[in-house]
Amino acid sequence: MKHRTKQTSHEQEQLSQAQSQSTAPREFTSVTEALREDRARVEVPPAVEQRLNESIAKLPKPPPQRPWWKRLMGD
């Protein structure tokens, strides 16, 4: 129980450290560095994937390919 309490306070420490890091002032040495950081934080909304799947499902299906022996015999 004591061990668990210690671990919890350690976790809390890590959490507050992470929180302070995420809100701490930050300096970028270049525009590219700032843009890369920004890009790392942007996520593609899941709605895009869903819409894409729906659109692909609506695409006309290609005609089934004839078996090789039919193609060979020209029928």
């Binding site: 970028f28 843009l35 920004d38």
Partner: protein
């Protein structure tokens, strides 16, 4: 089963392509157009085109370059149709020349959460050509030569314009503080 409801992204290889490249496409569209909904539309349209035209990709350029070419075309189309509906009087030349002296100073932000907002505001004030160069160069996977190819100019011209674009961006970024 999931496979019946997710035909596209279960197609062999396509899911991997989407996973690997969708962020690059979305981010370029988001910051170039400055509109999350239009960036979603572009990402959707680009990957739908990729799905349909993948067999036309001849491998003469890197896949990422081919993908960016499609993305840039879609962004330009989006921008043109938007401008047709919204007549603006932004003087691009004035913005292009507004480079100030902020080019060499570091970019400071008080909180990381404000980064995206300030980057977008700064981007919105730049000429589209500068915006595109900055965003393409920010992709580690692209070389200057590939950026040059995508923007239809020499690598030396890219370097020169990029220098001015960075200064212009830094000036605008400072103003957003």
């Amino acid at each position: 089963m999931e496979s019946t409801s997710r035909p596209g992204l279960e197609t062999p290889g396509f899911a991997d392509l989407y996973r690997e490249h969708s962020k690059a496409v979305y981010y370029l569209a988001l910051r170039y157009l400055g509109d999350a909904q239009r960036a979603e539309d572009v990402t959707h349209d680009v990957f739908l085109k990729v799905y349909r035209k993948l067999d036309e990709f001849r491998g003469e350029s890197a896949f990422r370059t081919w993908l960016y070419r499609i993305t840039i075309n879609h962004c330009h189309n989006q921008q043109q149709s938007w401008h047709q509906r919204h007549i603006t009087t932004t003087d691009d030349d004035a913005v292009l020349d507004a480079t100030g002296n902020a080019g060499e100073s570091p970019l400071r932000i008080l909180e990381i959460k404000e980064l995206g907002e300030r980057i977008q505001t700064s981007m919105d004030r730049l000429a589209p050509e500068y915006r595109l160069l900055l965003l393409l160069v920010a992709d580690e996977q692209l070389s200057y030569e590939e950026v040059a190819e995508l923007t239809g100019q020499t690598a030396d011209a890219v370097r020169g314009k990029l220098h001015r674009a960075r200064k212009a961006f830094a000036t605008q970024f400072e103003k957003t503080a």
